[in-house]
Protein backbone atom coordinates (compact mmCIF):
# COMPACT_ATOMS: atom_id res chain seq x y z
CA UNK A 1 0.00 0.00 0.00
CA UNK A 2 3.05 2.25 0.20
CA UNK A 3 2.53 3.16 -3.45
CA UNK A 4 -0.57 5.12 -2.50
CA UNK A 5 1.18 7.31 0.07
CA UNK A 6 1.98 10.15 -2.40
CA UNK A 7 -1.63 10.16 -3.66
CA UNK A 8 -2.86 10.45 -0.08
CA UNK A 9 -0.42 13.29 0.57
CA UNK A 10 -1.54 15.19 -2.53
CA UNK A 11 -5.17 14.65 -1.54
CA UNK A 12 -4.56 16.08 1.92
CA UNK A 13 -2.64 19.01 0.42
CA UNK A 14 -5.49 19.76 -2.00
CA UNK A 15 -8.09 19.67 0.80
CA UNK A 16 -5.93 21.92 2.97
CA UNK A 17 -5.48 24.33 0.05
CA UNK A 18 -9.23 24.58 -0.50
CA UNK A 19 -9.92 24.94 3.22
CA UNK A 20 -7.29 27.67 3.60
CA UNK A 21 -8.79 29.52 0.63
CA UNK A 22 -12.18 29.54 2.35
CA UNK A 23 -10.57 30.67 5.60
CA UNK A 24 -8.76 33.54 3.84
CA UNK A 25 -11.95 34.55 2.09
CA UNK A 26 -13.79 34.58 5.40
CA UNK A 27 -11.14 36.91 6.86
CA UNK A 28 -10.91 39.26 3.88
CA UNK A 29 -14.29 39.34 2.21
CA UNK A 30 -17.18 41.57 3.31
CA UNK A 31 -20.39 39.93 4.52
CA UNK A 32 -23.44 42.01 3.75
CA UNK A 33 -26.11 39.63 2.51
CA UNK A 34 -29.45 41.07 1.53
CA UNK A 35 -32.66 39.38 0.48
CA UNK A 36 -32.05 40.30 -3.15
CA UNK A 37 -28.49 38.98 -3.13
CA UNK A 38 -29.31 35.63 -1.65
CA UNK A 39 -32.33 34.99 -3.84
CA UNK A 40 -31.85 32.57 -6.75
CA UNK A 41 -30.30 34.31 -9.76
CA UNK A 42 -32.72 34.64 -12.64
CA UNK A 43 -31.30 37.52 -14.66
CA UNK A 44 -32.93 40.16 -12.50
CA UNK A 45 -36.43 38.74 -12.48
CA UNK A 46 -37.90 37.94 -9.08
CA UNK A 47 -38.15 34.14 -8.97
CA UNK A 48 -41.79 33.11 -8.96
CA UNK A 49 -41.57 29.36 -9.29
CA UNK A 50 -39.66 26.62 -7.53
CA UNK A 51 -36.95 24.87 -9.54
CA UNK A 52 -38.38 21.81 -11.29
CA UNK A 53 -38.31 18.59 -9.37
CA UNK A 54 -39.35 16.34 -12.22
CA UNK A 55 -37.05 15.66 -15.13
CA UNK A 56 -37.44 13.95 -18.48
CA UNK A 57 -37.07 10.25 -17.89
CA UNK A 58 -34.33 10.06 -20.52
CA UNK A 59 -31.80 11.46 -18.08
CA UNK A 60 -32.53 8.61 -15.67
CA UNK A 61 -32.34 6.12 -18.55
CA UNK A 62 -28.91 7.45 -19.49
CA UNK A 63 -27.73 7.01 -15.91
CA UNK A 64 -28.96 3.40 -15.78
CA UNK A 65 -27.53 2.49 -19.18
CA UNK A 66 -24.23 4.06 -18.19
CA UNK A 67 -23.93 1.90 -15.09
CA UNK A 68 -24.49 -1.25 -17.14
CA UNK A 69 -22.00 -0.19 -19.80
CA UNK A 70 -19.34 1.04 -17.44
CA UNK A 71 -19.31 -2.28 -15.60
CA UNK A 72 -19.03 -4.12 -18.92
CA UNK A 73 -16.14 -1.89 -19.97
CA UNK A 74 -14.37 -2.57 -16.68
CA UNK A 75 -14.48 -6.29 -17.51
CA UNK A 76 -12.49 -5.55 -20.66
CA UNK A 77 -9.53 -4.16 -18.70
CA UNK A 78 -8.28 -7.41 -17.11
CA UNK A 79 -8.65 -9.14 -20.45
CA UNK A 80 -6.68 -6.42 -22.22
CA UNK A 81 -3.79 -6.86 -19.76
CA UNK A 82 -3.50 -10.65 -20.15
CA UNK A 83 -4.83 -11.24 -23.68
CA UNK A 84 -1.46 -12.70 -24.73
CA UNK A 85 -1.61 -15.47 -22.10
CA UNK A 86 -5.20 -16.37 -22.95
CA UNK A 87 -4.60 -16.57 -26.71
CA UNK A 88 -7.32 -17.89 -29.03
CA UNK A 89 -9.53 -19.11 -26.17
CA UNK A 90 -9.60 -15.62 -24.69
CA UNK A 91 -10.44 -14.09 -28.06
CA UNK A 92 -13.47 -16.36 -28.51
CA UNK A 93 -14.64 -15.78 -24.93
CA UNK A 94 -14.29 -12.02 -25.36
CA UNK A 95 -16.14 -12.11 -28.67
CA UNK A 96 -19.05 -13.90 -26.96
CA UNK A 97 -19.02 -11.34 -24.17
CA UNK A 98 -18.98 -8.40 -26.58
CA UNK A 99 -21.78 -9.95 -28.63
CA UNK A 100 -23.88 -10.05 -25.45
CA UNK A 101 -23.06 -6.41 -24.72
CA UNK A 102 -23.73 -5.40 -28.30
CA UNK A 103 -27.09 -7.20 -28.42
CA UNK A 104 -28.19 -5.22 -25.36
CA UNK A 105 -26.92 -2.03 -27.00
CA UNK A 106 -28.83 -2.69 -30.23
CA UNK A 107 -31.96 -3.48 -28.22
CA UNK A 108 -31.66 -0.16 -26.37
CA UNK A 109 -31.18 1.80 -29.58
CA UNK A 110 -34.04 0.03 -31.36
CA UNK A 111 -36.35 0.92 -28.49
CA UNK A 112 -35.37 4.56 -28.76
CA UNK A 113 -33.84 4.68 -25.28
CA UNK A 114 -31.03 6.90 -26.58
CA UNK A 115 -33.09 9.22 -28.75
CA UNK A 116 -33.18 12.92 -27.99
CA UNK A 117 -34.50 15.98 -29.56
CA UNK A 118 -37.06 16.69 -32.25
CA UNK A 119 -38.25 14.19 -34.85
CA UNK A 120 -36.43 14.71 -38.10
CA UNK A 121 -39.09 13.23 -40.41
CA UNK A 122 -42.58 14.07 -39.26
CA UNK A 123 -45.28 11.55 -40.13
CA UNK A 124 -47.33 12.25 -43.19
CA UNK A 125 -50.78 13.54 -42.47
CA UNK A 126 -53.49 10.86 -42.75
CA UNK A 127 -54.80 11.20 -46.37
CA UNK A 128 -58.36 10.31 -45.32
CA UNK A 129 -58.63 13.57 -43.37
CA UNK A 130 -59.08 16.71 -45.43
CA UNK A 131 -56.51 19.44 -44.76
CA UNK A 132 -59.26 22.05 -44.70
CA UNK A 133 -60.59 20.58 -41.43
CA UNK A 134 -58.75 22.43 -38.69
CA UNK A 135 -59.63 23.57 -35.17
CA UNK A 136 -60.75 26.91 -36.64
CA UNK A 137 -63.21 25.39 -39.11
CA UNK A 138 -64.68 22.54 -37.06
CA UNK A 139 -65.13 24.16 -33.66
CA UNK A 140 -68.21 26.37 -33.52
CA UNK A 141 -67.59 29.34 -31.30
CA UNK A 142 -70.48 30.57 -29.20
CA UNK A 143 -71.04 33.45 -26.84
CA UNK A 144 -69.06 35.95 -28.87
CA UNK A 145 -71.91 38.46 -29.25
CA UNK A 146 -70.94 41.98 -28.28
CA UNK A 147 -67.28 41.13 -27.80
CA UNK A 148 -64.31 42.58 -29.61
CA UNK A 149 -63.16 40.34 -32.42
CA UNK A 150 -59.98 38.56 -31.37
CA UNK A 151 -56.94 40.20 -32.87
CA UNK A 152 -54.54 37.46 -31.96
CA UNK A 153 -52.20 39.50 -29.80
CA UNK A 154 -54.72 39.79 -26.98
CA UNK A 155 -54.37 37.03 -24.42
Amino acid sequence: MGQYLPILMLLVLAVVFAALSFFASRLLAPRRPTAAKSAPYECGIVPSREPPERFPVRFYLIAMIFIVFDIEIIFLYPYAVIHRELGGFGLVEMAVFVVAVFAAFVYLIANGALDWGPVKHLRRVDPRVSTSRTAATTVRRVGLEGREPETGEAA
Partner: protein, 396 residues
Protein backbone atom coordinates in the same frame (compact mmCIF):
# COMPACT_ATOMS: atom_id res chain seq x y z
CA UNK B 1 3.00 -8.21 -17.24
CA UNK B 2 4.53 -5.22 -15.50
CA UNK B 3 3.16 -4.22 -12.13
CA UNK B 4 3.97 -0.65 -11.37
CA UNK B 5 6.04 0.20 -8.40
CA UNK B 6 8.03 3.19 -7.35
CA UNK B 7 11.29 1.65 -6.04
CA UNK B 8 11.29 4.33 -3.36
CA UNK B 9 8.18 2.89 -1.72
CA UNK B 10 8.46 -0.85 -2.34
CA UNK B 11 10.31 -1.77 0.85
CA UNK B 12 9.69 -0.52 4.38
CA UNK B 13 9.21 3.23 4.28
CA UNK B 14 11.62 5.28 6.37
CA UNK B 15 11.84 8.98 7.10
CA UNK B 16 14.00 9.84 4.07
CA UNK B 17 11.47 8.24 1.74
CA UNK B 18 8.64 10.19 3.34
CA UNK B 19 10.66 13.40 3.02
CA UNK B 20 11.32 12.74 -0.68
CA UNK B 21 7.63 11.98 -1.24
CA UNK B 22 6.67 15.19 0.56
CA UNK B 23 9.11 17.13 -1.61
CA UNK B 24 7.72 15.60 -4.79
CA UNK B 25 4.14 16.22 -3.65
CA UNK B 26 4.89 19.87 -3.00
CA UNK B 27 6.61 20.15 -6.38
CA UNK B 28 3.61 18.67 -8.23
CA UNK B 29 1.21 20.86 -6.24
CA UNK B 30 3.07 24.05 -7.08
CA UNK B 31 3.55 22.95 -10.69
CA UNK B 32 -0.18 22.33 -11.08
CA UNK B 33 -1.12 25.71 -9.60
CA UNK B 34 1.39 27.60 -11.75
CA UNK B 35 0.49 25.59 -14.87
CA UNK B 36 -3.20 26.29 -14.31
CA UNK B 37 -2.58 30.01 -13.87
CA UNK B 38 -0.51 30.07 -17.04
CA UNK B 39 -3.13 28.00 -18.88
CA UNK B 40 -5.84 30.53 -17.99
CA UNK B 41 -3.63 33.33 -19.28
CA UNK B 42 -2.65 31.30 -22.38
CA UNK B 43 -6.27 30.57 -23.24
CA UNK B 44 -7.34 34.19 -22.85
CA UNK B 45 -4.38 35.47 -24.84
CA UNK B 46 -4.59 32.95 -27.70
CA UNK B 47 -8.37 33.10 -27.85
CA UNK B 48 -8.09 36.88 -27.91
CA UNK B 49 -5.69 36.74 -30.84
CA UNK B 50 -7.89 34.29 -32.71
CA UNK B 51 -10.93 36.52 -32.31
CA UNK B 52 -9.01 39.66 -33.22
CA UNK B 53 -8.77 41.08 -29.71
CA UNK B 54 -5.77 41.90 -27.56
CA UNK B 55 -6.48 39.81 -24.48
CA UNK B 56 -4.97 40.51 -21.07
CA UNK B 57 -1.98 42.84 -21.43
CA UNK B 58 -1.84 44.98 -18.26
CA UNK B 59 -0.68 42.76 -15.39
CA UNK B 60 2.98 41.93 -15.86
CA UNK B 61 4.78 41.35 -19.18
CA UNK B 62 2.21 40.33 -21.83
CA UNK B 63 -0.38 40.10 -19.05
CA UNK B 64 1.14 36.91 -17.62
CA UNK B 65 0.16 37.86 -14.09
CA UNK B 66 -3.50 38.41 -14.99
CA UNK B 67 -4.57 35.14 -13.35
CA UNK B 68 -2.68 36.03 -10.17
CA UNK B 69 -4.38 39.40 -10.07
CA UNK B 70 -7.78 37.80 -10.59
CA UNK B 71 -6.98 35.20 -7.92
CA UNK B 72 -6.12 37.86 -5.36
CA UNK B 73 -9.16 39.92 -6.25
CA UNK B 74 -11.47 36.98 -5.70
CA UNK B 75 -10.52 36.70 -2.01
CA UNK B 76 -11.97 40.16 -1.40
CA UNK B 77 -15.33 39.36 -2.97
CA UNK B 78 -18.41 38.64 -0.92
CA UNK B 79 -19.11 34.95 -0.50
CA UNK B 80 -22.84 34.42 -0.93
CA UNK B 81 -24.77 31.31 -0.01
CA UNK B 82 -28.28 31.43 -1.49
CA UNK B 83 -31.23 31.12 0.88
CA UNK B 84 -32.75 28.15 -0.85
CA UNK B 85 -29.51 26.19 -1.09
CA UNK B 86 -28.63 23.02 0.77
CA UNK B 87 -25.82 24.61 2.75
CA UNK B 88 -23.70 21.56 3.52
CA UNK B 89 -23.73 20.18 -0.04
CA UNK B 90 -23.28 23.69 -1.43
CA UNK B 91 -20.06 24.03 0.56
CA UNK B 92 -18.93 20.47 -0.17
CA UNK B 93 -19.22 20.66 -3.97
CA UNK B 94 -16.13 22.84 -4.66
CA UNK B 95 -14.00 20.35 -2.71
CA UNK B 96 -15.37 17.48 -4.79
CA UNK B 97 -14.46 19.40 -7.91
CA UNK B 98 -10.98 20.62 -7.00
CA UNK B 99 -9.55 17.60 -5.17
CA UNK B 100 -9.88 15.11 -8.08
CA UNK B 101 -8.37 17.75 -10.36
CA UNK B 102 -5.25 17.77 -8.20
CA UNK B 103 -5.05 14.03 -7.55
CA UNK B 104 -5.28 12.88 -11.18
CA UNK B 105 -1.93 14.39 -12.04
CA UNK B 106 -0.19 12.14 -9.50
CA UNK B 107 0.09 9.24 -11.96
CA UNK B 108 1.47 11.23 -14.90
CA UNK B 109 5.16 10.52 -15.62
CA UNK B 110 6.84 13.78 -16.54
CA UNK B 111 10.35 12.51 -17.12
CA UNK B 112 12.83 9.68 -16.82
CA UNK B 113 14.82 7.69 -19.34
CA UNK B 114 13.02 4.62 -20.67
CA UNK B 115 14.27 1.74 -22.81
CA UNK B 116 17.76 0.25 -23.22
CA UNK B 117 17.46 -1.52 -19.88
CA UNK B 118 16.51 1.69 -18.07
CA UNK B 119 13.13 1.67 -16.38
CA UNK B 120 12.62 5.38 -16.03
CA UNK B 121 14.13 5.48 -12.57
CA UNK B 122 16.15 8.47 -11.44
CA UNK B 123 18.27 9.01 -8.37
CA UNK B 124 17.06 11.65 -5.93
CA UNK B 125 18.89 12.34 -2.65
CA UNK B 126 20.62 8.97 -2.92
CA UNK B 127 17.37 7.05 -3.48
CA UNK B 128 15.93 5.57 -6.66
CA UNK B 129 12.56 6.95 -7.59
CA UNK B 130 10.42 7.83 -10.59
CA UNK B 131 9.80 11.25 -12.06
CA UNK B 132 6.12 10.90 -11.32
CA UNK B 133 4.43 11.39 -8.01
CA UNK B 134 2.92 7.93 -7.58
CA UNK B 135 3.04 4.71 -9.57
CA UNK B 136 0.29 2.48 -8.21
CA UNK B 137 -0.41 -0.85 -9.97
CA UNK B 138 -3.88 0.39 -11.02
CA UNK B 139 -2.37 3.43 -12.74
CA UNK B 140 -4.78 4.53 -15.42
CA UNK B 141 -7.86 3.31 -13.51
CA UNK B 142 -7.15 6.04 -10.95
CA UNK B 143 -7.58 8.62 -13.72
CA UNK B 144 -10.97 7.18 -14.68
CA UNK B 145 -12.03 6.97 -11.03
CA UNK B 146 -11.12 10.60 -10.41
CA UNK B 147 -12.95 11.79 -13.50
CA UNK B 148 -16.02 9.94 -12.16
CA UNK B 149 -15.75 11.73 -8.83
CA UNK B 150 -15.48 15.07 -10.61
CA UNK B 151 -19.01 14.44 -11.95
CA UNK B 152 -20.27 14.56 -8.35
CA UNK B 153 -18.79 18.02 -7.84
CA UNK B 154 -20.63 19.41 -10.86
CA UNK B 155 -23.87 17.56 -10.15
CA UNK B 156 -24.10 18.40 -6.44
CA UNK B 157 -23.14 22.04 -7.08
CA UNK B 158 -26.10 22.48 -9.40
CA UNK B 159 -28.51 20.48 -7.31
CA UNK B 160 -27.70 22.19 -4.01
CA UNK B 161 -27.99 25.72 -5.40
CA UNK B 162 -31.80 25.63 -5.22
CA UNK B 163 -32.09 27.57 -8.45
CA UNK B 164 -33.30 26.73 -11.95
CA UNK B 165 -30.33 27.33 -14.22
CA UNK B 166 -27.73 25.57 -12.09
CA UNK B 167 -30.03 22.57 -11.75
CA UNK B 168 -30.59 22.35 -15.51
CA UNK B 169 -26.87 22.79 -16.13
CA UNK B 170 -25.90 20.09 -13.69
CA UNK B 171 -28.41 17.55 -15.02
CA UNK B 172 -27.10 18.18 -18.51
CA UNK B 173 -23.54 17.93 -17.24
CA UNK B 174 -23.98 14.63 -15.46
CA UNK B 175 -25.68 12.98 -18.44
CA UNK B 176 -23.01 14.30 -20.78
CA UNK B 177 -19.99 13.37 -18.66
CA UNK B 178 -21.41 9.95 -17.93
CA UNK B 179 -22.09 9.30 -21.63
CA UNK B 180 -18.62 10.18 -22.79
CA UNK B 181 -16.96 8.32 -19.96
CA UNK B 182 -17.98 5.06 -21.62
CA UNK B 183 -16.26 6.06 -24.88
CA UNK B 184 -13.26 7.34 -22.90
CA UNK B 185 -12.95 4.02 -21.06
CA UNK B 186 -13.22 1.99 -24.26
CA UNK B 187 -10.47 3.92 -26.00
CA UNK B 188 -8.21 3.48 -22.96
CA UNK B 189 -8.73 -0.30 -23.19
CA UNK B 190 -7.02 -0.20 -26.60
CA UNK B 191 -3.98 1.44 -25.01
CA UNK B 192 -3.92 -1.12 -22.20
CA UNK B 193 -4.16 -3.87 -24.81
CA UNK B 194 -1.15 -2.62 -26.75
CA UNK B 195 0.96 -1.76 -23.73
CA UNK B 196 -0.03 -4.81 -21.69
CA UNK B 197 -0.12 -2.97 -18.39
CA UNK B 198 -2.31 -0.62 -16.38
CA UNK B 199 0.51 1.41 -14.85
CA UNK B 200 1.32 4.73 -16.44
CA UNK B 201 5.06 4.11 -16.15
CA UNK B 202 4.64 0.79 -17.97
CA UNK B 203 2.53 2.42 -20.67
CA UNK B 204 5.22 5.05 -21.21
CA UNK B 205 8.01 2.42 -21.16
CA UNK B 206 6.23 0.37 -23.83
CA UNK B 207 6.22 3.40 -26.15
CA UNK B 208 9.99 3.83 -26.01
CA UNK B 209 11.25 6.49 -28.39
CA UNK B 210 9.02 6.21 -31.48
CA UNK B 211 6.71 3.26 -30.79
CA UNK B 212 3.91 5.60 -29.72
CA UNK B 213 0.47 4.22 -29.04
CA UNK B 214 -1.09 6.66 -31.50
CA UNK B 215 0.33 4.47 -34.30
CA UNK B 216 0.33 1.19 -32.36
CA UNK B 217 -3.43 1.44 -31.80
CA UNK B 218 -4.14 2.83 -35.26
CA UNK B 219 -5.11 6.44 -34.44
CA UNK B 220 -8.84 5.70 -34.03
CA UNK B 221 -8.71 5.30 -30.21
CA UNK B 222 -6.66 8.50 -30.06
CA UNK B 223 -9.30 10.47 -31.95
CA UNK B 224 -12.08 8.98 -29.83
CA UNK B 225 -10.14 9.77 -26.67
CA UNK B 226 -9.55 13.40 -27.65
CA UNK B 227 -13.24 13.91 -28.49
CA UNK B 228 -14.41 12.17 -25.31
CA UNK B 229 -11.87 14.08 -23.22
CA UNK B 230 -13.11 17.39 -24.60
CA UNK B 231 -16.65 16.41 -23.69
CA UNK B 232 -15.52 15.15 -20.28
CA UNK B 233 -13.88 18.52 -19.60
CA UNK B 234 -17.05 20.37 -20.67
CA UNK B 235 -14.94 22.45 -23.00
CA UNK B 236 -16.21 23.89 -26.25
CA UNK B 237 -17.70 22.56 -28.51
CA UNK B 238 -19.18 20.42 -25.71
CA UNK B 239 -19.81 23.24 -23.23
CA UNK B 240 -23.59 22.86 -23.04
CA UNK B 241 -23.17 22.67 -19.30
CA UNK B 242 -22.46 26.36 -19.08
CA UNK B 243 -23.99 27.57 -22.31
CA UNK B 244 -24.20 31.25 -21.44
CA UNK B 245 -27.05 32.01 -23.82
CA UNK B 246 -29.29 29.39 -22.23
CA UNK B 247 -28.15 28.75 -18.68
CA UNK B 248 -26.37 31.91 -17.43
CA UNK B 249 -23.28 30.18 -16.04
CA UNK B 250 -24.52 26.63 -15.73
CA UNK B 251 -23.90 24.72 -12.52
CA UNK B 252 -21.87 27.49 -10.87
CA UNK B 253 -24.34 30.33 -11.44
CA UNK B 254 -24.99 30.74 -7.72
CA UNK B 255 -21.35 30.48 -6.71
CA UNK B 256 -19.30 33.55 -5.99
CA UNK B 257 -15.96 34.53 -4.52
CA UNK B 258 -13.51 31.74 -3.66
CA UNK B 259 -16.03 28.98 -4.27
CA UNK B 260 -16.43 30.10 -7.86
CA UNK B 261 -12.67 30.48 -8.21
CA UNK B 262 -12.16 26.88 -7.12
CA UNK B 263 -14.54 25.61 -9.81
CA UNK B 264 -12.72 27.74 -12.36
CA UNK B 265 -9.37 26.46 -11.13
CA UNK B 266 -10.57 22.86 -11.28
CA UNK B 267 -11.83 23.32 -14.82
CA UNK B 268 -8.51 24.58 -16.14
CA UNK B 269 -6.49 22.17 -14.01
CA UNK B 270 -8.50 19.34 -15.53
CA UNK B 271 -7.62 20.67 -18.97
CA UNK B 272 -3.92 20.58 -18.14
CA UNK B 273 -4.20 17.13 -16.56
CA UNK B 274 -6.24 15.68 -19.39
CA UNK B 275 -3.70 16.96 -21.91
CA UNK B 276 -0.99 15.28 -19.85
CA UNK B 277 -2.99 12.04 -19.85
CA UNK B 278 -3.39 12.18 -23.63
CA UNK B 279 0.36 12.69 -23.99
CA UNK B 280 1.05 9.78 -21.62
CA UNK B 281 -1.36 7.36 -23.23
CA UNK B 282 -0.90 8.06 -26.91
CA UNK B 283 2.17 10.20 -27.55
CA UNK B 284 4.81 8.43 -25.51
CA UNK B 285 4.86 10.79 -22.54
CA UNK B 286 8.45 11.93 -21.96
CA UNK B 287 9.78 9.64 -24.72
CA UNK B 288 11.72 11.33 -27.45
CA UNK B 289 15.17 11.46 -28.95
CA UNK B 290 17.88 12.80 -26.66
CA UNK B 291 19.73 15.41 -28.66
CA UNK B 292 22.52 17.18 -26.80
CA UNK B 293 23.50 17.08 -23.14
CA UNK B 294 22.49 14.45 -20.59
CA UNK B 295 19.61 12.07 -21.45
CA UNK B 296 17.41 12.86 -18.47
CA UNK B 297 17.02 16.53 -19.46
CA UNK B 298 15.08 15.61 -22.60
CA UNK B 299 12.25 13.70 -20.91
CA UNK B 300 10.59 16.75 -19.32
CA UNK B 301 11.37 18.90 -22.40
CA UNK B 302 9.56 16.52 -24.75
CA UNK B 303 6.75 16.05 -22.26
CA UNK B 304 6.07 19.77 -21.94
CA UNK B 305 6.41 20.32 -25.68
CA UNK B 306 3.75 17.69 -26.36
CA UNK B 307 1.61 19.03 -23.51
CA UNK B 308 1.67 22.49 -25.04
CA UNK B 309 0.42 21.13 -28.37
CA UNK B 310 -2.71 19.77 -26.70
CA UNK B 311 -3.28 22.85 -24.58
CA UNK B 312 -3.19 24.89 -27.76
CA UNK B 313 -5.53 22.38 -29.41
CA UNK B 314 -8.15 22.86 -26.69
CA UNK B 315 -7.99 26.64 -27.09
CA UNK B 316 -8.18 26.24 -30.86
CA UNK B 317 -11.30 24.08 -30.49
CA UNK B 318 -12.91 26.81 -28.43
CA UNK B 319 -12.12 29.54 -30.94
CA UNK B 320 -13.16 27.50 -33.98
CA UNK B 321 -16.01 25.10 -33.33
CA UNK B 322 -19.64 26.06 -32.70
CA UNK B 323 -21.44 24.42 -29.80
CA UNK B 324 -23.27 21.13 -30.26
CA UNK B 325 -27.01 20.78 -29.81
CA UNK B 326 -27.91 18.42 -26.98
CA UNK B 327 -29.36 15.63 -29.13
CA UNK B 328 -26.36 15.84 -31.47
CA UNK B 329 -24.07 15.52 -28.47
CA UNK B 330 -25.85 12.45 -27.17
CA UNK B 331 -26.04 10.87 -30.62
CA UNK B 332 -22.32 11.41 -31.19
CA UNK B 333 -21.43 9.87 -27.84
CA UNK B 334 -23.70 6.85 -27.82
CA UNK B 335 -24.38 6.07 -31.45
CA UNK B 336 -21.01 6.87 -33.02
CA UNK B 337 -18.16 6.81 -30.54
CA UNK B 338 -19.11 3.80 -28.40
CA UNK B 339 -19.80 1.34 -31.27
CA UNK B 340 -16.72 2.60 -33.12
CA UNK B 341 -14.48 2.19 -30.08
CA UNK B 342 -15.87 -1.28 -29.35
CA UNK B 343 -15.47 -2.43 -32.96
CA UNK B 344 -11.95 -1.07 -33.26
CA UNK B 345 -10.97 -2.72 -29.99
CA UNK B 346 -12.18 -6.12 -31.22
CA UNK B 347 -10.32 -5.68 -34.50
CA UNK B 348 -7.12 -4.88 -32.60
CA UNK B 349 -7.56 -7.89 -30.33
CA UNK B 350 -8.23 -10.22 -33.28
CA UNK B 351 -5.16 -9.03 -35.18
CA UNK B 352 -2.88 -9.27 -32.15
CA UNK B 353 -4.09 -12.73 -31.12
CA UNK B 354 -3.84 -13.93 -34.73
CA UNK B 355 -0.27 -12.65 -34.80
CA UNK B 356 0.57 -14.55 -31.60
CA UNK B 357 -1.11 -17.80 -32.60
CA UNK B 358 0.30 -17.84 -36.15
CA UNK B 359 -3.13 -17.71 -37.72
CA UNK B 360 -3.45 -16.21 -41.17
CA UNK B 361 -3.76 -12.51 -40.45
CA UNK B 362 -5.68 -11.77 -43.64
CA UNK B 363 -8.32 -14.42 -42.96
CA UNK B 364 -8.74 -13.11 -39.41
CA UNK B 365 -8.95 -9.52 -40.69
CA UNK B 366 -11.55 -10.49 -43.27
CA UNK B 367 -13.58 -12.37 -40.65
CA UNK B 368 -13.38 -9.45 -38.22
CA UNK B 369 -14.40 -6.98 -40.90
CA UNK B 370 -17.32 -9.21 -41.91
CA UNK B 371 -18.49 -9.38 -38.29
CA UNK B 372 -18.17 -5.61 -38.00
CA UNK B 373 -20.12 -5.06 -41.21
CA UNK B 374 -22.89 -7.30 -39.87
CA UNK B 375 -22.86 -5.35 -36.59
CA UNK B 376 -23.06 -2.09 -38.51
CA UNK B 377 -26.05 -3.41 -40.47
CA UNK B 378 -27.76 -4.33 -37.22
CA UNK B 379 -27.10 -0.85 -35.86
CA UNK B 380 -28.59 0.78 -38.95
CA UNK B 381 -31.69 -1.39 -38.58
CA UNK B 382 -31.88 -0.39 -34.92
CA UNK B 383 -31.66 3.31 -35.84
CA UNK B 384 -34.56 2.87 -38.27
CA UNK B 385 -36.67 1.08 -35.68
CA UNK B 386 -35.88 3.81 -33.15
CA UNK B 387 -36.92 6.52 -35.59
CA UNK B 388 -40.27 4.82 -36.11
CA UNK B 389 -40.84 4.61 -32.36
CA UNK B 390 -39.84 8.25 -31.98
CA UNK B 391 -42.16 9.41 -34.76
CA UNK B 392 -45.13 7.53 -33.30
CA UNK B 393 -44.42 9.08 -29.91
CA UNK B 394 -44.27 12.53 -31.46
CA UNK B 395 -47.50 11.92 -33.41
CA UNK B 396 -49.33 10.99 -30.19
Amino acid sequence: MILGADPLLTGPIDLTAVAIVAFKTLLVFVFLLVATMLMIWFERKVHGDMTNRIGPNQAGPFGVLQSVADGIKVFFKEDLIPDRSDRFVFKLAPYLSVVPAFVTFAVVPIGGVFGDGERGVVSMFGRDTRLQLADPPIGILLVLAMSSIAVYGVMLAGWSSGSKYPLLGSVRASAQMVSYEAALGLSVVAVVLVSGTLTTSGIVASQHVWNWNIWATGAVPFIIFVIAATAELNRPPFDLVEAEQELVGGFHTEYSSVRFALFYLAEFMNTVTMSAIIVTLFLGGPNGPALIGPDWVWGPIWFFAKLLVFLFMFVWFRATLPRFRYDQLMDLGWKALIPLALGWLLLLVAVRVADDEDWNVFVVMAAALAVMAAAYGLLVLAFRAARRVHEVEAAI
